[in-house]
């Protein structure tokens, strides 16, 4: 286990993300899919969400990512209320929330380094973003390379993204999240379409990076044994609410009703 750095520990002492009385009804849903959600996550903490498919894990993650608006309750990230923000301020806050999806969320026609540096778009000006597409500077490329090094893909810097395997693409998505340097990293079934060996490697990478960089990690999974093995806490989403919370490190595997 990697020892958390001092500042990460300090941050963990107070909550990074706080949810209170949250209710979410995605467009077209008659009644809320999620309700009465309350949660505190500290910096550097790794949290797994488990539960049968269709229970609302993805909806919760997309709400936290700012893609779906909550109908009631509050989301507080780093002392700011996500639910009250609009426009530029919302975009700025979004840039502090990273997202890794199950698959299909890289822009395949772009090169690997372009997908990686997409993580920086939240802090770049529009002009700089457009310029990078045609003429990346060597400093920017170096940043992309170091992010790729962290996921073991530095040699694929200029490769076409479409030519990568599923596991490699997932690493690129993680590298993108690293460049974004978010305070909160959300991962929606990041290993669902990967073989078991690759899946373990990806989860190991995610959790260790979260610890090392002091990010809060919330990750949905459908394999409970992976959740208990790699995560600090496992929560079950069931019938629209969160249940079952426990610290799993050093403890015996949690019994889960899935």
């Amino acid at each position: 286990m990697i020892e958390p750095r001092g500042d990460a520990v300090r941050a963990a002492s107070r909550s990074l993300l706080t949810l209170r009385d949250l209710a979410v009804a995605p467009l077209g849903a008659a009644k809320p899919v999620l309700r009465d959600i309350a949660l505190d996550v500290g910096a550097g903490e790794c949290l797994a969400l488990v539960g049968a498919s269709g229970t609302g894990k993805t909806t919760l993650l997309r709400t936290l990512g700012g893609q779906i608006a909550a109908v009631a309750g509050t989301i507080e990230l780093d002392g700011e209320w996500l639910t009250a923000l609009r426009g530029k301020a919302l975009r700025r806050l979004r840039s502090r929330v990273g997202f890794v999806a199950q698959k299909h969320d890289l822009v395949e026609p772009l090169r690997v380094h372009q997908n990686v540096m997409a993580g920086a778009l939240g802090r770049w000006s529009t002009l700089r973003a457009l310029r990078y597409l045609c003429r990346p500077t060597s400093a920017e490329l170096a940043e992309a390379r170091s992010a790729l090094e962290a996921v073991g893909l530095a040699h694929k810097l200029r490769a076409p993204t479409a030519a990568l395997s599923g596991g490699e693409q997932q690493r690129v998505a993680i590298a993108r999240a690293l460049v974004q340097a978010p305070r909160l990293l959300l991962a929606d079934e990041p290993v669902a379409s990967l073989d078991p060996v690759t899946a373990r490697a990806i989860l190991e990478l995610l959790t260790s990076l979260a610890k090392r960089r002091g990010m809060a990690l919330i990750c949905s999974l459908h394999q409970p044994e992976l959740a208990t093995r790699y995560f600090d806490r496992v929560l079950e989403v069931r019938e629209g609410t969160l249940t079952g919370s426990a610290a799993v490190h050093a403890a015996q595997p949690l019994r889960l009703t899935a």
């Binding site: 840039s95 969320d105 822009v107 372009q114 529009t126």
Partner: protein
Amino acid sequence: MDSLWPLLSAFFPPVLTPSYLRALLPPVVETLGLAAGSMFLAFLISLPLGIAAGLRLPGTRPLLAVLSAVRAIPDLTVAILCVILFGVGPGAGLLALAIYYGAVVAKMFADILRTAPRPPLEALAATGARRLQLALFGLLPLKRADLLTYGAYEFESALRASIVVGAVGGGGLGSELVGSLAALDFPRVTTQLIVLVTVVAVLDQLAVWLRRHPRWLLALAPLGLAALAAYAPRLLAFDHALHVFGEMFPPRLTERDWAALLPRLWETAWMALAGTGGAVLAAALFGALTARNLAPPWLAWPLRRLMEVLRSIPEVVWGLILIAVAGVGPTAGAAALGLHSAGCLARLFAESLENAPRAPQLAIAGTGASAVVVTAWATVPLALGPVAVHSLFRLEWNLRMATVMGLIGAGGIGQALYDAQQLFFYRQMMAYILITWVLVALVDNASEALRRRYKLNQIPA
């Protein structure tokens, strides 16, 4: 461009007097009749041919080769031949369209029916069904949806083509248009264009409706039959036609013609390349400005209507207009191809942008990127593949159309064909027809090979 305004103002106001609109009714009816009659004939010919190919009867392979070959003669070239052989008026236009679309539809039917799943057919054959029964109870029901959908699509193309054959003497609205343009009677040209755009828009709606209710295609059959009776070319003149056809053989070019051939072909290719290139640039802009996910509705709506007007006026009609106002030459031809293509491509590009996968765009937006940056980093790169395919298809189509633009004065190989025709040098004319034929067939084959290699495909739009 200070000369543009007087040029445009010459087209306004259109002549909208009731008496003129009434006078335009017969040509419009003639145009509709041409489309209905020729398609009726085309379907009549192609259904048995398609079934023969679908049942894999012996001898269908060479037959299909012949159909592909006929399809490579542009419709306007066929129309010119028919006008010479059978006379001016709707009879020639009808025959030309029936020949061209007969080949197109038969090839399409054959392709559809040959891909019918074999096991149900073999099961039916095992019950001792005869060939006709096999076709009626096996083949046609299996592929009915495809046949009707593509049938409705071809009917739509035939309608546009029926306006175009009039330009070389095939009757209908096209002939009227050529008359008004020759007299520089631009206000009446505007009226005809308004009528044309309206008719095409109405028929577009009809075609959309027909695709959803395809059995109504059958209801058009009596219409086709009536048109056929009204416009059938006078069969008495067949021996004359044969005689004149004989005059076209053996084809021959003079030494001077051979020397001028390469520059002329280059002019044709240039027309297609310049027209397509310009259209791609314009469509990139207007496609983005009309895509529902990128442009605000108050901007997208009027631009969409503008693009509809651009594409509902066929290339040849644009060519006739531009040549009348700007003079003969390949520039007018390229501009004509460009205007129509821009209208078509803008819609396809807009669709490509709208259909770009959502997830990667959301992912980029999720990093905090602004809308402009999401467009540049995700939406546009994701749409580039389909955009390239559409552009290539357009280039192929425009290469074929460029050979035809010369027939109305836009230069290139078509112009040489037209000049030879006008001077009654029929052996020379036939030589140009054959050269055009071979070239179009080559482009067709090259593009088909390319498509198979890269597994590109396009649903007719």
